[in-house]
């Protein structure tokens, strides 16, 4: 903001600029701009303004750039004005580095430029709000163009594309003959233009079409949204063209209609997919409108905005951290908004706001609505992975309320925490005594029993609590609780035999003799026989490493690149949530496929997998020609060693409903030469499998499948011992096909 005046001053001083301004321009850029200071947006401009005159040493360079741009623009509209070319050569040179409106246009006719001219380039950077940061073109320019690095996100005022344009002649008649159907004719025209190969081939003509379309005064917000949607179909040929288009469309980002702003954001994100800094800048710009929508009076709009905020947070965790207060809930809000807000709060927490966020969340834990209270407790549990001490303290306090719905969730949170953050074990163990009185549901009991079993040596009354459970085992309704009880008691027996021996005997007796549930009975028998094998054997089996340390790390690495969701932005996907959307579209896909392609459908349901897999690998010759070697036998030890030595090369989530049939999966994987190293039993929570495969060049693919039934998705992590992307992609597509086919059979 400090240096904004020079830039503006330069603009005002230029007579060419004045003249160029459209007389009836309904938005005087200057006034509008200063009236609407944009958070963060000014930063880039300010940096630039400071650098421009100082480093270039040529204050007039900026002015020159400006007038040059005006002329260049006029030229691009009014035909090939050859006479204009010579004076603007200077900044044409800098423009050739891929900047702004003028650069793009004049750079085309005058590509040759001396490196010394690069000074004017600093001014040219102001041309449009969007410019190429450190593009490859820079290397060609002289040393002075190092400035380019500083030129990065030039958010200079958007007044630029607005002024000085003569109205293209073609628009007026169309507008007058068809006053009604405001946006439709525009969209039609655009469609026509985009379908025309001549227009597509010629950058300038395409540019003119866009220009004409977006400047049509009759284009209302619906039309604008439609146009933005259409522009997604065009792939710019070069970087200059790309930034040219971005500059043309910049004003849409400041529209007062959220639909238009989000449409423009999506277009920008997709067009600039190779320029992460541009994407970040767009997301900074859209912050204001999104936050405004989040506090909008319309609940529904607010909800949609919150979903998109979450989407952005997945990639840029700190993006909304300073605005955390906007996401505090008020009691009158509907349930679904509160849940979203709690999720957002949980994701944007950082060192500065953690205290306030936790305090707020603690208030929600005693909410009248049990669902909301539980969501808040789980959210605190999520934050506890980073800020363990504070959260455990709050959770412990909540236990003091002695309310069932709170206690059960807190204990479940504790169980997950102890697993992921072992340092909090001590605190959790101290908090546990007394909880058993307030837990009635299966999940909570399982969590409590698990905790007592695993950390029983630190909880003085653990055997007595378990004893109560053993005594009431006959009236216990949930088999899962009984299974958990068996395991926990056996574990506890190993460290506190004297206190547990008697009741372990009773429990085993009950499970083997009286229990009707087969799983429980088998488990009882198994433990009984295990005990017969001797205590050392039991210890070896039950007390082997407790948790998979890679899991915690993986969860922290969940940051996704912007490009992974850019195409979902401003669609229903974030609103449904990725997992639900995957379920919906899978279902839809199956439905749609049914009538259209009967072959595929019957194929998928009858289930001969082999041809499908082969087809898959054959059909995709560009996937790095992956050939998996049939007999790659890895030992579990070797796998484990390699697994821990490698980094995750690829990670993705695959929609999955219901349980897994390990045998079917194993067989299917065998068919495509993927070996199964280890696999959880059916119905385990979470379900896991470790797979390995090797291709003909000796590259190893190690895979972990993790299925968490509650969010109905399968997490796939692939590690590779040689970093080769093509083969990795090939492997993943094979794996996906197998999983997809298995999933189809089941449903």
């Amino acid at each position: 903001m400090v240096a904004a005046p020079p830039a503006e001053g330069a603009a005002r001083l230029r007579p060419a600029e004045r003249r160029g301004r459209a007389p009836g321009g309904r938005r005087p850029g200057g006034a509008r701009r200063s009236a609407l200071p944009r958070g963060g947006g000014g930063g880039g401009g300010a940096r630039l303004g400071a650098v421009g005159p100082e480093e270039a040493g040529l204050p007039q360079g900026a002015g020159r750039g400006l007038s040059g741009r005006v002329a260049a623009r006029r030229r691009s509209d009014g035909g090939p004005g050859r006479e204009g070319a010579a004076p603007w050569g200077g900044e044409a040179g800098s423009g050739a580095e891929g900047l702004g409106v003028a650069g793009a246009v004049s750079g085309r006719s005058e590509p040759a430029c001396g490196p010394q001219e690069g000074t004017a380039g600093a001014g040219a950077g102001l041309a449009g709000p969007w410019s190429l940061g450190c593009g490859p073109g820079e290397a060609e320019a002289g040393p002075t163009s190092r400035l380019g690095a500083l030129r990065r996100p030039t958010f200079a005022s958007p007044r630029f594309p607005r002024q000085g344009w003569e109205e293209p002649a073609g628009t007026a008649p169309g507008r007058e003959t068809m006053p009604y159907l405001g946006s439709e004719d525009v969209v039609k025209e655009l469609k026509k233009a985009l379908c025309n190969p001549h227009v597509q081939a010629d950058r300038l003509r395409y540019r003119n079409v866009i220009q004409r379309v977006i400047r049509m005064p009759k284009l209302d917000q619906w039309g604008q949204a439609e146009v933005l949607n259409f522009l997604l179909r065009y792939q710019p040929r070069s970087e200059e063209e790309l930034f040219d288009i971005l500059n043309l469309l910049d004003s849409f980002l400041k529209s007062s209609s959220p639909g238009v702003v989000m449409g423009a954001t999506k277009l920008f994100l997709i067009l600039a997919k190779k320029f992460p800094h541009v994407q970040t800048d767009v997301l900074v710009q859209v912050k204001g409108p999104l936050l405004a929508a989040c506090s909008s009076e319309s609940r529904e709009l607010c909800f949609a905005a919150l979903c998109h905020v979450r989407q952005i947070l997945h990639s840029l965790p700190g993006h909304f951290s300073s605005h955390y207060k906007k996401f505090f809930c008020s009691y009158s809000e509907p349930h679904y908004i509160k849940l979203q807000k709690v999720e957002v709060l949980c994701e944007l927490v950082n060192d500065e706001n953690v205290q306030q966020v936790l305090e707020e969340l603690r208030g929600y834990c005693t909410d009248v609505s049990a669902d909301f209270a539980q969501a808040a407790i789980f959210a605190i549990g999520g934050i506890a992975r980073t800020y363990t001490d504070q959260c455990v303290q709050i959770l412990t306090e909540l236990l003091g309320l002695r309310q069932e719905h709170i206690t059960t969730v807190v204990v479940q949170t504790f169980r997950d925490l102890v697993w992921l953050c072992p340092q909090c074990t001590e605190a959790v163990c101290q908090a546990l005594p007394g909880c058993e009185e307030n837990i009635q549901d299966s999940e909570g009991k399982q969590a409590l029993i698990w905790l007592l079993g695993v950390h029983g040596e630190r909880i003085p009354n653990a055997p007595y609590v378990l004893e109560d459970f053993v005594e009431n085992v006959k009236s216990e309704t949930f088999p899962a609780v009984k299974m958990e009880l068996l395991t926990a008691l056996l574990r506890l027996f190993l460290c506190r035999p004297a206190e547990c021996q008697d009741m372990l005997g009773r429990l085993l007796h009950y499970c083997i003799e009286e229990e009707k549930d087969m799983a429980v009975r088998d488990r009882g028998l198994f433990y009984y026989r295990l005990l017969l094998a001797g205590i050392d054997e039991v210890k070896r089996i039950l007390c082997s490493p407790k948790s998979d340390p890679s899991l915690g790390l993986l969860e922290d690495q969940a940051e996704r690149p912007v490009n992974s969701w850019a195409s979902d932005f401003n669609t229903l996907v974030p609103v449904y949530g990725k997992a639900r959307w995957a379920a919906i579209s899978k279902y839809q896909g199956a439905e749609h496929r049914g009538p259209e392609l009967p072959n595929t459908a019957s194929f998928a349901s009858s289930g001969p997998l082999i041809p499908e897999e082969h087809k898959e690998t054959v059909q995709e010759p560009d996937s790095g020609a992956l050939m998996l070697v049939p007999n790659c036998q890895l030992t579990a030890e070797y796998f484990e060693k390699t697994w821990f030595s490698l980094k995750v090369a690829h990670q993705q989530v695959f929609p999955w409903k219901g349980a897994v049939h390990p045998d079917t999966l194993q067989m299917a994987l065998q068919v495509v030469n993927i070996q199964t190293i280890a696999m959880s039993r059916a119905g385990a929570h979470p379900w896991k499998a470790y797979l390995s495969a090797q291709d003909d060049t000796g590259c190893l693919f190690l895979t972990e499948l993790l299925l968490e039934p509650e969010n109905s998705e399968m997490q796939i992590s692939v590690k590779q011992n040689e970093p080769r992307t093509e083969t990795l992609n090939g492997f993943i597509s094979v794996l996906e096909t197998v999983l997809g086919t298995i999933g189809d059979i089941k449903s």
Binding site: P28, A35, Y576
Partner: protein
């Protein structure tokens, strides 16, 4: 692209049903929607819902709730939720403009008009136009209004403070009539209603320090003038945008962000804070602004709670003192304090400072209603409750720390003739000169209300 659009009453009865594309099942879709809505699991949001299966293919339901009605659109495409939600609320505004107000009654009285309107706005599921000027050329049906509007119906509380020559107060229902004057009745007045509405969300910590203040303001205009008549709205001259701008002497009226409707001309905004616009008939949000963390005037309410809790007998005593810091001439209406209580509260005895106040228990919370609070006044309430079996931290006897589950208190209220940011409309001038008839009436109203006013205890 919309497949169907329908309006349901709050009880799920279909009022309006329109199929634009004929690509999906019949009217039972509306019923299906309502069934889904009512049977939704707690953790899913109702805004967007999907149907899978059945004979028709999958459809997404997107709806908004507006004055008790469900306005639902279905689509089978993965379209922009923002645009669609915007369209639905624009439709709600349009229907309100045409029918006077949006309610079950007005919709069912004006079914023909609504269908006609839908026909013009959407064609084959695509939006054609939503602008009033365009539509008025095509809409022939006249709105049926239930009872004739009378200016002298002053029974309801009038909130339109007026800058007009006659310092009259119009009833708050004055603006709810169809925008288009019916052809038979030429006596309709040319009127303009301008509302400055602010929503206040505040969070106050238990030690009284202010954690969050957020003001969302809007200037809303409802014009009954013929389209294209120009008007100028003068705002307070000390109105500053952004942290750095300085205007006038003294602290000024500062907001963080402003956005304007696209029809607003801002030539005089920089110099004189005047908005110039040619509003279409009907309702329109001229300007939106936000202000956070830095409020020029004191907060309207402060709450001083004190809690006595006797663990032995399970007796909980809450003394609430509510001070209204508004200027003495202003008042707050419909003040309601909502205080969640620990579970298991059985009885309540109360001592209130005024006879018109009311307090009762409901849904695990205490509700204290204060119909009218004068600026500068102090009100208090003493509430005693029995909370058997509420366990506490170790310790004996009385304590002044609040038990878990008590609070935070939240207030809801309306402040007529008051804006928290201090923004005022200085004048509203019309360039419009009606031939022969009286000059148009201009009504200006300022109003603040609470969005979330939370005080931790």
């Amino acid at each position: 692209m919309i497949s169907q659009f329908f309006i349901l009453s709050s009880k799920g009865d279909p009022l309006i049903y329109k199929d634009f594309r004929g690509d999906s099942g019949g009217r039972d879709v509306a019923e299906l929607f309502y069934r889904k809505l009512t049977g939704l699991p707690g953790d899913e949001s109702p805004v967007v819902m999907v149907t899978c299966g059945g004979h028709h293919d999958d459809r997404h339901f997107i709806h908004i709730r507006h004055s008790g009605l469900y306005l639902v659109a279905t689509t089978s495409e993965n379209i922009s939720p923002f645009s669609l939600l915007e369209l639905l609320s624009r439709l709600a505004t349009l229907l309100g403009d045409y029918c006077g107000s949006l309610s079950e009654g007005t919709i069912s009285r004006n079914v023909a008009l609504v269908y006609e309107l839908l026909d013009e706005v959407l064609d084959y599921g695509y939006v054609q136009t939503t602008s009033m000027e365009m539509l008025r050329n095509f809409i022939q049906t006249e709105a049926v209004v239930s009872k004739p509007f009378s200016l002298f119906d002053l029974s309801s509380v009038g909130l339109f403070g007026a800058e007009t020559q006659q310092s009259k107060v119009a009833p708050s229902t004055a603006a709810s009539r169809p925008v288009l004057a019916s052809r038979s009745d030429q006596s309709q007045k040319n009127e303009v209603f301008l509302d400055v509405v602010e929503r206040l969300s505040v969070l106050i910590a238990s030690n009284g320090s202010l954690l969050k203040v957020d003001v969302q303001g809007e200037i809303r205009l409802k014009s009954f003038l013929p389209s294209g008549s120009e008007m100028r709205i003068g705002l307070t001259e000390e109105f500053c945008v952004g942290k750095s701008e300085l205007r006038g002497y003294g602290p000024g009226i500062r907001v963080d962000e402003v956005s304007f409707h696209s029809s607003v001309l801002l030539e005089e905004f920089e110099s004189h804070r005047i908005l110039r616009l040619q509003p279409p008939q009907g309702e329109l949000t001229v300007m939106r602004y936000q202000l956070s963390d830095d409020l020029p005037s004191p907060l309207p309410f402060r709450l001083f709670p004190s809690v006595q809790w006797d663990r032995g007998s399970g007796r909980l005593q809450v003394y609430l003192k509510l001070r209204c810091d508004l200027p003495p001439k202003s008042q707050a209406l419909n003040v309601r304090l909502h205080l969640p209580l620990p579970r298991g509260v059985v009885s309540l005895s109360q001592e209130l400072s005024g006879p018109e106040q009311k307090a009762e228990l409901g849904e695990g919370a205490l509700r204290w209603d204060l119909p009218r609070v004068q600026g500068g006044s102090q009100l208090s309430g003493l509430f005693q409750m029995d909370v058997p079996g509420l366990p506490g931290p170790p310790g004996q006897g009385h304590s002044t720390t609040a038990p878990l589950g008590l609070g935070p208190a939240s207030l809801s209220f309306e402040l007529p003739r008051h804006t928290c940011s201090g923004l005022q409309v200085r004048f509203l001038r019309l360039a419009f000169r009606p031939c022969g008839s009286t000059s148009p009436h201009k009504w200006v109203r300022h109003l603040s209300h609470s969005d979330a006013y939370v005080i931790r205890i």
